[in-house]
């Protein structure tokens, strides 16, 4: 019997998670990706190779007169110890971004594994894991992180540990919910009927549907994590002087807020810009990443 193939509206033979070509995405998506991407790229350069963005040494004291506003030689002015503030902010990216990325990575990884396991296996494992998750979620997150970080001692490592601990339960909940929702889908049942085991089902028949949510959550969290990191540093935990992490910059700039406004404005701006940039990137990417399948044209 001669059966013709239905001609696809979109030539979609790719097996990756990216589904739509650039030219077919909407203008706003393109703008978001480009703008967000640029911002994120600049920040990442600052974090990885700060020397490319500034020739000043962030720790060198008295390279210029102290607490002087932005000028030609010092783009963002100097701080109370005469250090070039632009360099301080740029070099601060490493600490701030690195910590937030690690926190989200740990939180997402751990949370996903726990959530998927709980959803897939169900039973007593689900009960136990979810009670633990509930416990963490019932405690005020930031306060808990504060207490943990204080208990673990000052320094970047404590902040990362403390925030990771409060970060993963949210992901666990999210993924458990998604797995439960997918469990009864027909293609999952079909895979089960074929004899596929839990891991295969999770990997091939559930995970691809979750990338969209994961993207949305992660890009958002990278912003929130940074804010939390900066918050902990602000109160004195986290990165210690002379490290120029943005939160601690805010802390030390606080007393000059009326006189040397640039000492608080620019670190704050950096935090905000990163959050907005990564969120824009995530939003733009969401149009590309296959989340839920699109409804076809059915009569």
């Amino acid at each position: 019997m001669d059966v013709e193939l239905a001609v696809a509206d979109r030539a979609e033979t790719s097996q990756t998670i990216f589904r739509r070509s650039w030219s077919r995405s909407t203008r706003s998506r393109q703008v978001f990706i480009v703008t967000g991407g640029l911002i994120v790229a600049v920040f990442l350069v600052a974090a990885i190779a700060p020397g490319l963005l500034t020739s000043h040494n962030p720790d060198a004291l008295y390279v210029g007169p102290p607490t002087v506003g932005p000028s030609a030689q010092h783009l963002l002015g100097t701080d109370e110890l005469g250090r070039d503030f632009y360099a301080r902010v740029v070099y601060g990216a490493r600490s701030s971004l690195l910590m937030s990325v690690i926190i989200v990575a740990i939180g997402a990884a751990l949370g996903t594994v726990v959530g998927v396991a709980a959803g897939l296996f169900g039973g007593w494992l689900d009960e136990v894991l979810m009670r633990i998750v509930d416990l963490f979620l019932s405690l005020p997150g930031f306060v808990l992180a504060l207490a943990l970080a204080a208990a673990l001692g000052r320094g970047e490592r404590s902040v990362v540990i403390a925030l990771s601990v409060i970060w993963w339960p949210g992901y666990a909940r999210l993924f458990r919910g998604m797995v439960l929702g997918m469990k009864h889908r027909l293609h999952v049942e079909s895979a089960r009927a074929l004899g596929a085991g839990h891991f295969r089902i999770a990997r091939k028949h559930m995970l691809p549907f979750m990338w969209g949510q994961l993207n949305a959550r992660v890009t958002q969290d990278l912003g929130y994590a940074l804010v939390s990191v900066a918050g902990l540093s602000f109160v004195g935990l986290g990165a210690q002087p002379p490290a120029s992490e943005w939160g601690s910059l805010l802390q030390s700039g606080l007393q000059y807020v009326a006189t040397a406004w640039w000492l608080t404005l620019f670190p704050g701006l950096a935090i905000t810009l990163w959050t907005v940039g990564i969120a824009m990137l995530g939003d733009g990417l969401s149009g590309f990443i296959r989340g839920e399948r699109e409804a076809g044209e059915r009569d």
């Binding site: 239905a6 696809a8 033979t13 097996q15 889908r185 089960r192 074929l194 399948r293």
Partner: protein, 327 residues
């Protein structure tokens, strides 16, 4: 292969009750989806299961497949009880018993290419052979009438009928002895239904495969099955050879079902003797006492209200009817 004469599938006294909450948050209720069902399927035979909503036919199908465990009773495949199987044995069983679901769009993973979909059974069971499997895939596509070029595409690029062909091809990859088809054509256009039914007939005949065909359409079931069972409220109320049940139904529900099926012939429609059944299909969450059909049955007597009828021989050879009144 089964030894000749031995039954392939035996369902014995199977019941399935679900716990649910009335309306989502209300009080706990019991849903008696399947109630004490017996059936047998021989090798190479098609058995049809007819029923409307709430009859429990799909649940029974899933129990047969081992996707759902019965609350009572047993399902035996070639004499071996499915409930007593180890994980490994169950996995082996999957090679012998396969399924085609109603909605092909939903039953295929939209992120997988046709090739991946057809290869999956091989990979799951460790049977993938880089030399021979690709040829097998080609053969399967030929059998179901899909072009080889389909391998590169994802399932979403096909029409409903083609998707169902793909689902059928997938079910055949490991050469099952029994195929459970749950409403395989209900989601397809009328002109495609006939194609798919023909395809299934051809396949079944060529492979001497057994089939459990579940459908709400009595005409389809009668056409495709050698024997059939009519389900109502989780019970098989009538069973027998398709021709016998179709021409000479003994259970009032079967008669009502036959009468209600519209036929594409206006004159015949007007001239037919119609049995009008009132009320709605029995709700499995609150079944009537005795015979579940009695509130709607025009032949009901007192004993129909009090005692549940068990299947007994009425009519032709092999015809069993669960009714006090039937003759």
């Amino acid at each position: 292969m089964t030894s000749p004469g031995a039954v392939l599938l035996e369902v014995d006294g199977v019941s399935k009750t679900f716990n649910a909450r009335s309306g989502g948050l209300g009080r706990r209720i019991q849903v008696a989806a399947v109630n004490d069902v017996d059936l047998r399927i021989e090798p190479g035979e098609t058995f049809g299961l007819v029923g409307e909503t709430g009859s429990g036919k799909s649940t029974l199908g899933r129990i047969v497949l081992g996707l759902e465990a019965p609350t009572q009773g047993s399902v035996r495949f070639e004499g071996q009880s499915i409930g007593a199987m180890s994980r490994r044995q169950l996995k082996q069983l999957r090679r012998r018993m396969q399924v085609v679901f109603q909605d092909p769009y939903e039953s295929l993973n939209p992120y997988m290419t046709v090739r991946e979909i057809l290869e999956e059974p091989f990979r799951v069971h460790g049977l993938y052979d880089s030399e021979r499997t690709p040829a097998r895939l080609g053969e399967l596509l030929d059998v179901v009438g899909l072009p080889r070029a389909a391998l590169r595409r994802t399932s979403t690029e096909f029409s409903g009928g083609q998707q169902q062909r793909l689902a059928i091809a997938r079910s055949l990859t490991l050469d099952p002895d029994l195929l459970v088809a749950d409403e395989p054509t209900a989601a397809l256009d009328v002109s495609i239904q006939a194609q798919i039914l023909n395809l299934m007939l051809d396949i079944q005949r060529a492979r001497k495969m057994s089939m459990l065909l579940i459908s709400h359409n009595l005409l389809v079931v009668r056409h495709m099955s050698a024997r059939l069972g009519v389900m109502y409220a989780g019970r098989i109320v009538e069973t027998g050879f398709s021709e016998d049940v179709y021409r000479s139904p003994k259970h009032p529900y079967t008669m009502a079902l036959l009468s209600a099926v519209p036929v594409a012939n206006p004159r015949k429609e007007r001239e037919r003797h119609r049995i009008k059944v009132s009320g709605e299909a029995a709700d499995p969450a609150s079944l009537p006492s005795g015979c579940p059909f009695h509130p709607r049955c025009w032949l009901a007597e007192e004993r129909c209200r009090t005692t549940r009828p068990e299947p007994r021989p009425v009519g032709a050879a092999g015809q069993l009817v669960a009714c006090h009144v039937a003759t």
